[in-house]
């Protein structure tokens, strides 16, 4: 890849890797990695792979709509200790009412002082990865790095190279946890561009039921920061799992997230993504339906304005017969925002009776907003049903006039129509604290977008 670029870019890309190499050798000296040879090997493999590829470019088919030069050219530094911890009151507005517990991570590291662990049922383990690696490395070793594909995605490789901390959750066999587990990831300002690589491992044993919320926010000044996060979620046989990814960092933040789901037999998993913040955001969702009869819902809403770039990359792998997957992504884009929906479905040879569906609907609120939507079906079985569809539209003038003719002012009418569009995604979420949390978030955001698009639409 690097060879194909001009001399100038080679220098920049090499510098970028050099920069990460320094951070990596710093991490290598860390005692923990010397103690756990298997972890050391995982990290080294990760960094080795990243060193081979560097950051993807527009020539890479999986990245053709997303220019990463801003990420590749910024000299991000890993955050070491010594930062100011946010206070309870700083994070109060971001808490989820009705959560079972709340783990807070500041720049990728667990912050027990401001976390809330609650009282969890027996056989539910909620901890941070660094602690669990020290206490019971065997339990971690059984899963960590076994599902995330470092060869396919340089960011996954980079994340793996820098595994240090993140959430470690284990839900025992048959446990039903009604209240959601909230994971709050904070990027704090440091006066220089910083990077963190949270790594989460969630194991839900057979017949268990649970809801997880990953919530990405920034606090403090609006400085460049990269959060490159990865989650491995193992949904055991017959488990029922909901996962929420919320990106609401500020407009200087870069966020790359990868959710790798491994589904067992008849596991029922829902992935809900809500992207409203960030400068450049890449949301990778990669479920593998590995057991027969699995069901996966991949639901998302992305709302961009200004110069936001929101890229959603879905890779749904059907590896067993009789599985169903349904992808629904709605995009709302205003200003110069650029959205991407890349929906890839792979049906493996033995995955007969697969039923895969994909829908991407978009609302463009300005002439300068842009959406690229790309379905990609690769089917190697012969008895399957796969459908896909995409639409791009504007707010209907007829609808707007209808609402206004009933006394509803224009900004409120726009908000109502945007909310109606967003509700399609909300309606796919189960009733409960997680959905209520997302709903109030979206309500606020729709108000903001409605007012902004109204101002832009008016003559100067």
């Amino acid at each position: 890849m690097i060879r194909q670029m001009g001399n100038n870019k080679v220098a920049t890309a090499t510098q970028a890797i050099q920069n990460y190499a320094e951070s990596f050798s710093g991490l290598e000296k860390n005692a923990a990695s010397r103690e756990l040879p298997w972890l050391r090997k995982i990290r080294q493999d990760g960094f080795g792979r990243f060193g081979e590829t560097g950051f993807p470019t527009l020539r890479d088919e999986d990245w053709r709509f997303t220019n990463l030069s801003a990420i590749a050219q910024t000299p991000f530094r890993l955050v070491h200790n010594g930062h100011r911890l946010p206070s309870q009151s700083d994070i109060e507005p971001y808490r989820v009412a009705g959560a079972a517990c709340e783990l807070v991570f500041v720049d990728g590291r667990f912050a027990p002082e401001i976390s809330y662990l609650g009282e969890l049922p027996a056989r539910v383990k909620v901890a941070n990865l660094a602690e669990e690696l020290a206490r019971d490395p065997g339990a971690v070793e059984a899963h960590l790095g076994r599902y995330l594909d470092i060869r396919r995605d340089p960011f996954s490789a980079l994340n793996t190279a820098f595994i240090e901390d993140g959430a470690y959750i284990h839900i025992g066999k048959g446990i039903v946890l009604e209240a959601p587990i909230h994971l709050l990831f904070i990027s704090a300002a440091h006066g220089a561009p910083t990077v963190n690589h949270p790594r989460n491992l969630i194991v839900a044993e057979e017949n268990s039921q649970a809801t997880f919320i990953e919530d990405y926010i920034s606090l403090g000044r609006r400085e460049k920061a990269l959060c490159n996060t990865a989650t491995e979620l193992i949904a055991g046989d017959h488990s029922v799992i909901s996962h929420y990814m919320i990106e609401r960092e500020h407009e200087q933040a870069f966020n790359v997230s990868t959710l790798r789901i491994q589904q067992g037999r008849s596991a029922d998993v829902a992935s809900h993504s809500v992207l409203v913040g960030g400068a450049v955001v890449r949301n990778n969702v990669h479920p593998v339906l590995a057991g027969e009869g699995g069901e996966c819902l991949i639901n998302g809403l992305f709302v961009g304005s200004g110069r936001q770039h929101l890229d959603n990359y879905m890779l749904v792998e059907h590896a067993s017969p009789h599985c169903g997957s349904r992808q629904f992504y709605n995009g709302i884009l205003d200003g110069h925002a650029h959205g991407v929906f890349h929906g890839r479905i792979i049906v493996h040879k033995d995955a007969q009776k697969t039923d895969a569906k994909q829908t991407n609907r978009n609302l463009l609120l300005s002439d300068t907003a842009q959406i690229d939507t790309k379905p990609q079906l690769e089917i190697y079985a012969d008895d399957v049903r796969c459908t896909h569809g995409a639409t791009i539209g504007q707010i209907e003038e007829n609808s707007l006039f209808y609402l206004r003719s009933r006394g509803i002012d224009e900004a409120s009418a726009r908000r109502l129509l945007l909310m109606a569009f967003a509700s399609e995604c909300l309606d796919r979420m189960k009733e409960g604290p997680a959905r209520a949390h997302v709903e109030s978030l979206i309500h606020r955001d729709m108000g903001r977008v409605a007012h902004a698009s109204l101002r832009e639409g008016q003559p100067a």
Binding site: E396, N398, S399, F401, Y402, L403, R404, S405, R406, G407, I408, D409, E410, S412, A413, L416, L417, M419, A420, F421, S423, E424
Partner: protein, 253 residues
């Protein structure tokens, strides 16, 4: 002072003049009908009064309660008491009918400095109106007009009118697409709204609706002008003779 006074209103769409000088006065307590063939400008007039912005007003003045209607936004006109029952009610997926009705009512109440009505207080009032229009209560929880039948949509318009209690209601071809039973129900709903404080303008192509909503005055609109005005008997005369004689009379004039 008349409730509505239209003076020499001229309206264009792109290069075509649609309304060529309309004069009309409507007093509180009255029901007037505007009748005319397709393309005569009936719907344009209704939409202009409701403040649709796609029309270019080249001349004239409209006073609503003594205020300059043409300076108002659609929502302001609505809050001032104007209501248009749409010829083609719009489907709005994702917004429930009940929520929409309450939002509209509260927007108008807020405009008048009144307290908002909460869902609990709103529902009994709504149920009463629904009964009058013989509508299925289930329609309240469905998205606005989505997958409603033609008759359900028109009844839903009259339901909104009953809830919002405008001082001036304009019914744009509310009879189109209705069978006789639905027509009677809609007319019953409209007649229940007749009052000394309220005026109703019934825009229609056919006389049929006027059997049930009997107007005080009938105006015949042909080619952007009102060519005849008279009592309810004018509607019957039109039904027998058709618009052709009036059209030729208009051309001759």
């Amino acid at each position: 002072m008349s409730l509505l006074e239209i003076k020499n209103l001229k309206v264009r769409v792109e290069d075509r003049e649609i309304l060529k000088g309309i004069n009309l006065k409507l007093d509180a307590g009255e029901v007037h009908s505007i009748m005319g063939p397709n393309g005569s400008g009936k719907s344009t007039l209704a939409q202009v009064l409701a403040r649709r912005e796609t029309y270019q007003i080249t001349r004239g003045e409209v006073l609503f309660n003594g205020k300059d209607l043409l300076a108002m936004k659609p929502e302001e006109a609505a809050c001032e008491g104007l209501f248009l029952a749409f010829q083609y009610p719009v489907e709005i997926p994702g917004i429930s009918n009940a929520y929409f009705l309450r939002s509209a009512l509260n927007a108008i109440r807020k405009y008048h400095g009144q307290e908002e009505v909460d869902a609990m207080d709103f529902l009994p009032k709504l149920r009463e109106k629904i009964k009058l229009l013989e509508m299925d209560e289930k329609l309240l929880n469905r998205s606005v007009n989505e997958a409603f039948s033609g008759g359900e949509k028109k009844r839903n318009e009259i339901l909104q009118m009953a809830v919002l209690e405008p001082t001036l209601a304009i019914l744009d071809e509310t009879d189109s697409g209705l069978d006789i039973d639905a027509l009677k129900i809609v007319a019953k709903g409209v007649n229940a709204m007749r009052s000394p404080e309220r005026a109703i303008l019934v825009v229609t192509h056919y006389q049929r609706l006027l059997d049930y909503i009997v107007p005080d005055r009938v105006h015949v609109l042909v080619d952007g002008r009102i060519v005849r005005s008279g009592g309810p008997e004018l509607a019957l005369q039109l039904e027998e003779q058709g618009y052709a004689t009036m059209e030729s009379a208009a051309r001759g004039a």
